[in-house]
Subunit: 319 residues, 2 copies
């Protein structure tokens, strides 16, 4: 479900490195050449390029790119380049150390906790250790408080079971936990109750999908409708996004993309994050959801909101 | 710091298997032969024996042992045999599914969360997935409530940073977190406050050791003294044991061994668990602590409280 193309015959890594070197040498930079290579290599291939580049030229490719590129284009390239676990560690660190904590920072942390596989999340935690000499949960716990902390810390520390067969979901448990969620959310309006947190942060994704479907069937309305009682409440917004990321991530990412380009101005940080982190994973269903929801292809809106090399980089990843 | 011996020249695995086979064939069982092999092989060697045994004879060694041995001796052998991650998953499952949840069950879970390395704890969580088709935290959260859940779930989900150099501990942070702990524990008597949980479940062990030492120096009394205000409170007992396991595990295990043999009767389950889970790790400092605290060697007390093949198995592991 990836949306970027890799040539059938990928050139040798050394050849990629030579072309990149050439694109950055002398006056000016050949951005198109850079995009034509880097936007069309898998994570593993990009890591090899970085490694061979430093062996060949004694320079870190990332630092070279930083010198040559700028603005949103540079940001997109630098977020795209690393191995996903390394990228997640970097995004999480930015979010946990962001001086004015915003809902967007919480979204970054939540997305890492909810939309990666259990193994990928664990790899990001390992990379976080190696890179920052601290644990991810340590920083998430430190930079949050109250309901946000209650939800985010278990989201980034969980190691969910991933059943091979969704049919194995325990229907009695699904039924009883849908009722618990309804009691706490609809009846008590106790949105950070420990039972809500327990269910959302420990159960497998197939179990959660079945539970929320059961919620809808049993009580006649989707859970996220019951979480819209206070439209401006940021914790509720995070909770709704968490539920989406756990059960239908394409809806969350579609909305993030839509809001990043809505009205005047563009939230490039969000646009870049979503495109870059999902291009190798599930960008196709996200784009389909975008088309359904907005009656316009994501590509068209992207062309309307961005330009230049930044646009070219995004298009290379989603086209 | 292991306390069992492995021969300089370990026989080929096939030879071990033949001897075990012979010890269990026909009428009667040669328990001494079984101990002389299994109690003197590392975890890796024991796993190889199990694997080769099933290849050679088409029978699972564990099931064969179950048929031939009994009582506390059987239990000790069966807990000793598996790879530590597998053993931890099994012990945790027993604790989470124990029908009458006791403080001892919480201790088992807490010990796994606190006295394994970060990687070992993660391996136990992986093994738990493979074996039980659920996550460890899912079961721990389900079988606990209130303060016990608040403490135990983050203890089994954490992936603590393990600094190579203890000198890198941030002394300003140590100082301020010692103060937070003192405020919540000594002043507010709010023993399950989220800040206590955050510090104990996310900080590295060297950081925690420095913090508790600072607590003692700054306020003139050890933290565990301030946690003894309600002698019969089980949550406080768990909290004190958690702190010991995180900062000086030999003290926790010495006490567990002492209490398992104190007075009339023996708590064989505890005795077995401590000896078997620590024999390959840190039994030596635990035995030294036992001698210091009780003025008698652990071996002597073990001889006084147990007998037969069970005693012989324990002695093989701690002698």
């Amino acid at each position: 479900m990836a949306t970027f193309s890799v040539p059938d015959q990928v050139p040798p890594v050394a050849e990629d490195c030579e072309k990149l070197r050439k694109a950055m040498q002398g006056l000016g930079t050949d951005e198109k050449a850079i995009i034509s290579i880097l936007a069309h290599r898998t994570a593993r291939q990009r890591c090899s390029i970085r490694q061979i580049y430093v062996e060949k030229y004694g320079e870190d490719l990332f630092k070279e790119l930083e010198k040559e590129l700028s603005g949103d284009f540079l940001r997109a390239v630098l977020v795209w380049m690393p191995h996903p676990a390394e990228r997640d560690a970097m995004l999480a660190k930015e979010a946990t150390t962001s001086p004015k904590k915003s809902l967007e920072d919480y979204f970054v942390i939540m997305e890492i906790g909810c939309t990666r596989t259990s193994q990928e999340l664990f790899q990001a935690r390992q990379d976080y250790h190696d890179r920052y000499k601290r644990s991810l949960e340590e920083d998430v716990a430190c930079c949050t408080s109250g309901d946000f902390r209650k939800l985010l810390v278990p989201l980034v520390t969980c190691y969910r079971y991933e059943p091979h067969d969704e049919a194995l979901v325990d229907t009695a448990l699904v039924n009883s936990e849908a009722k618990i969620l309804h009691d706490k959310i609809f009846s008590d309006k106790d949105y950070s109750h420990e039972e809500i947190i327990r269910i959302l942060t420990t159960r497998s994704k197939p179990h959660l999908r079945a539970t929320l479907q059961n919620y809808n069937e049993q009580f006649g309305h989707p859970i996220n409708k019951d979480l819209k009682t206070k439209p401006k409440d940021e914790y509720l917004a995070l909770l709704r996004a968490t539920i989406k990321c756990l059960t239908c991530p394409e809806k969350h990412f579609e909305k993030a993309l839509r809001l990043s380009m809505k009205g005047l101005g563009t939230k490039e940080e969000t646009l870049t994050r979503v495109v870059v982190t999902r291009a190798e994973v599930d960008m196709k269903p996200i784009m389909e959801q975008y088309q359904r929801k907005n009656n316009v292809p994501l590509v068209n809106d992207t062309k309307g909101d961005t330009s230049g090399d930044y646009l070219r980089m995004l298009l290379a990843l989603i086209n």
